[in-house]
């Protein structure tokens, strides 16, 4: 950030038009996105390989039909929608950096807030992919786009989800794009071009996850989801998983990419997770109490999930793993050493991330379908193709996030800007690794 001030001296309030400078900005971004040390290429090659395996599996799914998944008329949503639900939370979780940065004017958070906003972009792209691969007829996606399509708004919650997800993607693309471009020009960003969008994005982050929860909790025929607690629970776990991912990202940037991130933003996120992890556990406990103490027909899904039902227990090991991980993460986060020990915090973040992934992925979607609405026991285990496609989308999301950071970090630190470019036209980018 201090580098920006030095460059401000040779800033000549952009003698070139935006037409030229924006093109140069895009070109520079492309160069930075594809330049890096060997470990960067190795990482990107690995992700590309996994993404290609996923793309191939998806192509087969479209050509041969969704019969290659293990979904059935009984369990009609599976691994894709489970991951979708979780990733919407990660996208919303990025806002936990935006709130301290912009509402509480935390200076240190302000300097790294773009990590959260870029995470939202990558996560929303993953969400859109997860929904698309779940479609039986992806060729008919345009039926969703008015005016050619027919958009069942406002009755269908899915149409709300389309709107909030695309809206959140565009908001964050604009905010990140504008801030980076301004930084590249060596100017300080003009408040009216981004601040209103930032405040809208805070509310919008809440909305994407609320709407996603409403998708499930509005279904009267699915008692496992039909609970008013679902949306608050989604938000609480999102504010665990999102910050957990960001904390680890900051440690990685520090250690592997040599970016000097101060302790302060990490500590702020740890303090946030200390609260959200407990709120999430409290809500899970409240849900579990209602299910089991009442013991009515409603509890069959919870019984299936936690203990198995009529000899069917596919999810039991998953959910107890999730509970163990969530409890472990809570203990680790609350430990006083969490403010000092990097490895302890990383362990806590990993436990929280995986715990929430299970709890509100497979642990939330599948029991909604088992037993079925007519009380039949049909279990679900994802097929190889489903795992391949899912891994492919994760790899693709990580590619987007890696590239975004690759571009954003040097620009944000003032290492790359227009003034410097003009001086040394085709000089290689400064490597900080």
């Amino acid at each position: 950030m201090t580098a920006a001030a030095t460059h401000a001296a040779d800033r000549t309030d952009s003698p070139v038009s935006h037409w030229v400078s924006y093109r140069r900005f895009i070109w520079r971004s492309l160069v930075m996105a594809t330049d890096g040390p060997l470990k960067f290429y190795a990482w990107m090659t690995l992700l590309t390989a996994v993404a290609l395996v996923g793309a191939n599996a998806w192509a087969h799914q479209v050509a041969d039909g969704m019969i290659i998944t293990h979904m059935t008329d009984h369990v009609s949503w599976g691994l894709y929608i489970a991951n979708f639900t979780f990733i919407v939370g990660v996208a919303a979780g990025g806002v936990m950096m935006v709130i301290p940065a912009y509402l509480y004017r935390d200076k240190s958070m302000h300097d790294v807030v773009i990590l959260g906003e870029l995470l939202a972009v990558a996560a929303i792209v993953m969400c859109l992919f997860f929904v698309t691969v779940d479609l039986g007829r992806p060729d008919r996606f345009w039926h969703l786009i008015p005016p050619m399509g027919r958009f069942n708004f406002p009755v269908s919650m899915l149409t709300w989800d389309v709107i909030v997800l695309w809206g959140y993607l565009l908001l964050n693309l604009h905010i990140c794009g504008y801030l980076l471009y301004a930084k590249y020009l060596g100017r300080s960003p003009t408040a009216r071009w981004y601040l209103p969008f930032v405040f809208v994005s805070i509310i919008w982050a809440i909305s994407i996850h609320t709407v996603t929860a409403f998708l499930y909790q509005g279904l009267g025929g699915r008692p496992f989801w039909n609970s008013a607690l679902l949306a608050p629970r989604f938000l609480a776990s999102a504010f665990v998983a999102g910050p957990a991912f960001l904390i680890v990202t900051m440690f990685i940037l520090r250690r592997i990419a040599g970016v000097d991130i101060p302790d302060r933003p990490i500590q702020v996120l740890v303090q946030i997770v200390r609260v959200t992890v407990l709120i999430n556990l409290l809500m899970v406990a409240s849900e579990v109490f209602t299910e089991f103490y009442t013991g009515a027909a409603h509890s069959t899904h919870a019984r299936y999930l936690y203990f198995g039902l009529h000899g069917h227990a596919a999810l039991v090991p998953w959910i107890w793993t999730a509970i163990a991980l969530n409890l472990t993460s809570a203990v680790l986060f609350l430990h006083p050493a969490a403010m000092r020990s990097m490895w302890l915090v990383i362990a806590a973040c990993a436990a929280a991330f995986i715990g929430v992934w299970i709890e509100k992925g497979m642990g939330l979607i599948i029991p909604g379908f088992v037993p079925s609405t007519l009380h039949q026991m049909v279990e679900y285990r994802p097929s190889l193709a489903e795992w391949q496609i899912t891994a492919g989308i994760w790899a693709f999301g990580l590619m987007i996030y890696t590239i975004a950071l690759k571009i954003a970090v040097p620009i944000f630190r003032g290492n790359v800007n227009l003034a410097q470019e003009s001086r040394t036209r085709t000089a290689p980018p400064p490597h900080h690794d």
Binding site: D64, T69, V131, G136, R137, R140, V155, G368, P371, H375
Partner: protein, 313 residues
């Protein structure tokens, strides 16, 4: 891609001023694109079997008579080509003043499963998965809790101490499945039948999640039916052979019932347990049943208001 070690200004002989790093990046990108092309090559098959006309086809409610004629001709030709069967596609409309209702006498039903079979044949269901819109639960007497039911019994019927509960789409007056559809691919017709435009459905299966009665089926693959078994009498919104990747459901055999015939399941029932008719006609059998029998519906508390009723004599 291991050029990170050396520095960038080394130029390759052929590429003149281009740096080695840029050349390798280009090669990497080309390789990546080629690999991506190979990875998604199975899509070519899908593109071949999906015509442009099908891709661009409008929603059912936006089709005029000419559009329909062209589409029906295309679908008939496709059925001929893929299944080797000559079929006739029609689009019978709801009759004004008619609202269909169904009732099943559980004291008569003995679980013989003829209705399930009749539905399977009438509606051109996939032979491989033995699909049908109807499933019959064998229930122990003394409970209506489906948790105690068995829908896959394979023995002689009726069994001592059991009764039989056929379940199919209840054509709810307040259908949750219609509300959730993001693209209006499913809707309730004036005669109460909830239909699906199989050429508009995007296959998101939200309706399957929303239906409290497991009435909807998804085409996980293209249905397989031998040419001689294809039912050629087909309705566009009912029993035509469905494409892969879309949702389907019971439609009260509208290609029959809108022309004064009875649903295939009723015709096949040897016990006389099924009563079908017009709820708006005070002299109909269904109205007599509703007025004189103690009828009930499944999961009434959900408020979906089924129009298929059960009763015991």
């Amino acid at each position: 891609m291991n050029d990170a070690r050396d520095e960038r200004r080394i130029s390759l002989p052929v590429l003149g001023g281009v740096s080695r790093r840029t050349a390798l990046k280009g090669a990497g990108a080309a390789l990546g694109l080629a690999a991506f092309g190979a990875a998604i090559s199975p899509l070519a098959h899908f593109a071949e079997t999906t015509s442009l006309d099908e891709f661009l086809q409008k929603h059912y409610k936006e089709l005029n008579e000419d559009d329909k004629r062209a589409i029906f001709a295309r679908l008939e030709a496709e059925t001929k080509q893929r299944y080797g069967a000559e079929v006739h596609l029609r689009d019978p409309q709801p009759i004004s003043g008619v609202r269909f209702g169904y009732a099943i006498n559980l004291s008569l039903c003995n679980g013989n499963g003829r209705c399930v079979e009749a539905c399977h044949r009438e509606n051109n269901h996939d032979r491989d998965t033995n699909q049908s819109y109807i499933r019959v639960f064998e229930m122990p007497k003394g409970t209506t809790d489906l948790a105690h039911g068995n829908a896959s019994y394979q023995h002689d019927v009726p069994q001592e101490g059991k009764y039989y509960l056929p379940v199919q789409c209840f054509q709810c007056e307040n259908p949750p499945c219609v509300d959730v559809c993001p693209v209006e691919a499913t809707w309730q017709e004036e005669d109460g039948i909830v239909v699906v435009d199989y050429n508009w459905c995007i296959g998101c299966r939200y309706c399957q999640a929303a239906c409290p009665y497991h009435a909807r089926r998804f085409n996980w693959k293209e249905p397989e039916i031998p040419a001689q078994e294809v039912n050629p009498d087909q309705g566009y919104l009912s029993n035509r052979i469905r494409p892969a990747g879309v949702v389907e459901k019971c439609h009260f055999c509208l290609h029959r019932t809108r022309e004064g015939r009875m649903p295939a399941c009723l015709e096949a029932c040897p016990t006389g347990a099924r009563i079908f008719g017009n709820l708006l006609d005070p002299d109909s059998d269904i109205r007599w049943v509703l007025a004189n029998k103690r009828c009930f519906v499944l999961k009434e508390e959900l408020g979906a208001q089924p129009t298929l009723f059960y009763f015991f004599d």
